[in-house]
């Protein structure tokens, strides 16, 4: 079998996740090769023997506060995010609108902070 070189002990991972959840703590975030990479989306296409690479760097603000969300742009221009893993958005604006609809509380406190500063 092929194995990932940094493969972790999954038995311990399940227990650790559960114990934190049981204590009321959130767990996780992105792991593996994805961990720590910048808010950059890269598209690579070979066309008539030419390699096309398009890098998109994101900087999103809502109510003046930065929004840290990993976003990817597909080759057809659609926008994806694992916050909504089955969705394709026609634009990043539509994605952020969905975030505001889905997590209004996050943006409520963001708005209050903004007003207070």
């Amino acid at each position: 079998l092929s194995e990932h070189p940094t493969h972790e002990n999954d038995n311990d991972a399940l227990s650790e996740m559960y114990m934190k959840i049981k204590m009321g703590q959130p767990v996780g975030g992105h792991t593996g090769e994805h961990q720590g990479h910048s808010l950059e989306s890269v598209r690579k296409v070979t066309y008539k023997s030419h390699q096309i690479v398009v890098k998109t760097l994101y900087e999103i603000h809502v109510d003046g506060k930065p929004l840290v969300e990993h976003i990817d742009v597909g080759n057809n221009g659609s926008v994806h995010s694992h916050t909504f893993p089955n969705y394709s958005f026609p634009s990043t604006i539509d994605f952020v609108k969905k975030l505001i609809d889905k997590y209004p509380d996050s943006f409520q406190s963001r708005e209050h902070n903004h007003i207070g500063t």
Binding site: L1, S2, E3, H4, D10, N11, A13, L14, S15, M17, Y18, M19, I21, K22, G24, Q25, P26, V27, G28, G29, H30, T31, G32, E33, H34, Q35, H37, E40, S41, V42, R43, K44, V45, K55, V68, E69, H70, I71, D72, V73, G74, N75, N76, S78, H80, S81, H82, T83, F84, P85, N86, Y87, S88, L99, K102, Y103, S106
Partner: protein, 320 residues
């Protein structure tokens, strides 16, 4: 023992046992330091989704790149494995080795006018109940079914204590149609292909069309989006509708395999390491190697081992 997976809408026994079984799994604890068995599957799905697998010496992943269970070739075998284990645990808690996981052929409902689709029989009191945050009717109403963890922003799994959320027909007004399923199964004949470079959401081939990224959301993805609520998050197995959708997705894959004489799984073994977790002989991403959770494979299974599952289960019909 070979079980038969049947249509939940035409087999009352499968429906009753499925509803009873998943509720039993919510109160089944394999170890004191693990969540209930049903929720282990929720953790697993979320964790695999947040484990990105582009690999390579200079990875530059984006959200559309592969994770351990989605957006790449392993999407179908990884979920096939998940269904096999869920079915195994349902058989155990119900002491019924003949139990077969039912499927929901959503393309039948996709033939209804869109306003009628959220009112289809699958969403009635006798099956899964309907919309709501929380859902208030059917067997998974707020008093009968608790959601304990949800995937939220930033890839985080967060504790909650609430009922199930569904928003039928809100983010998509319609389900996939029979014509769309048939088109996916027949696409490219006679030279059909399981998957292709760049092995992600931009690929052509059967996997990406069935997963639903081509002109997406379509097929599998569209079902998640149509159901909405908890089905729209990385913790989507919180909704028992998840398995009925994926069992149908698995059935469509089986139909494709049968129709085309088992086309090869791609990518094969002699492909770059950047495709790790997705190649024919790669180990799929487990949540645990403990045999209490995975008595069949102990967390060690590869796509090649899952291409022929006829020793475990068959579908009542592969007609699509």
């Amino acid at each position: 023992m070979v079980t038969i997976r049947k249509n939940i809408l035409s087999d009352e026994d499968s429906r009753n046992k499925y509803i009873n079984g998943v509720k039993l799994l919510k109160n089944d604890f394999l170890r004191p330091d693990w969540p209930n068995t049903y929720d282990i599957f929720v953790y697993w799905h979320h964790r695999a989704m947040m484990f990105f697998t582009p690999g390579g010496p200079n990875p530059t992943p984006g959200q559309g790149d592969r994770n351990a269970a989605h957006n790449g070739p392993a999407f179908l075998p990884w979920h096939r494995w998940m269904l096999i284990l869920l079915e195994n645990h349902l058989q155990r808690v119900m002491s019924d080795p003949n139990f077969g996981l039912p499927y929901w052929d959503w393309s039948v409902d996709g033939e209804l006018p869109p306003p009628q689709q959220p009112l289809a029989p699958i969403w009635s009191n006798d099956y899964l109940g309907g919309s709501g945050s929380p859902v208030t009717n059917g067997p998974f109403n707020e008093g009968s079914w608790k959601v304990n963890v949800v995937g939220i922003q930033g890839g985080v799994l967060s504790p909650v204590n609430r009922g199930l959320s569904r928003e039928l027909g809100v983010d998509s007004q319609r389900l996939p149609t029979k014509a769309e399923v048939r088109a996916a199964v027949n696409r490219g004949e006679p030279n059909v292909q399981y998957d292709s470079e760049p092995w992600n959401v931009n690929s052509t081939g059967f996997r990406n069309e069935l997963e639903g990224w081509i002109n997406g959301p379509q097929l599998h993805n569209l079902v998640h989006v149509f159901v909405g609520g908890d089905m729209g998050a990385s913790s989507s197995p919180n909704d028992p509708a998840f398995y009925l959708n994926h069992c149908n997705v698995d059935r469509i894959w089986a139909a494709w395999q049968q129709r085309h004489g088992n086309p090869p799984y791609l990518p094969g073994g002699n492909t770059p390491d950047e495709l790790l977790y997705h190649r024919l002989n790669d180990r799929l991403r487990p949540i645990t190697t403990n045999q209490l959770f995975d008595p069949l494979y102990r967390g060690n299974v590869t796509p090649v081992q899952l291409l022929d599952t006829s020793a475990l289960y068959v579908y009542e019909t592969l007609t699509i």
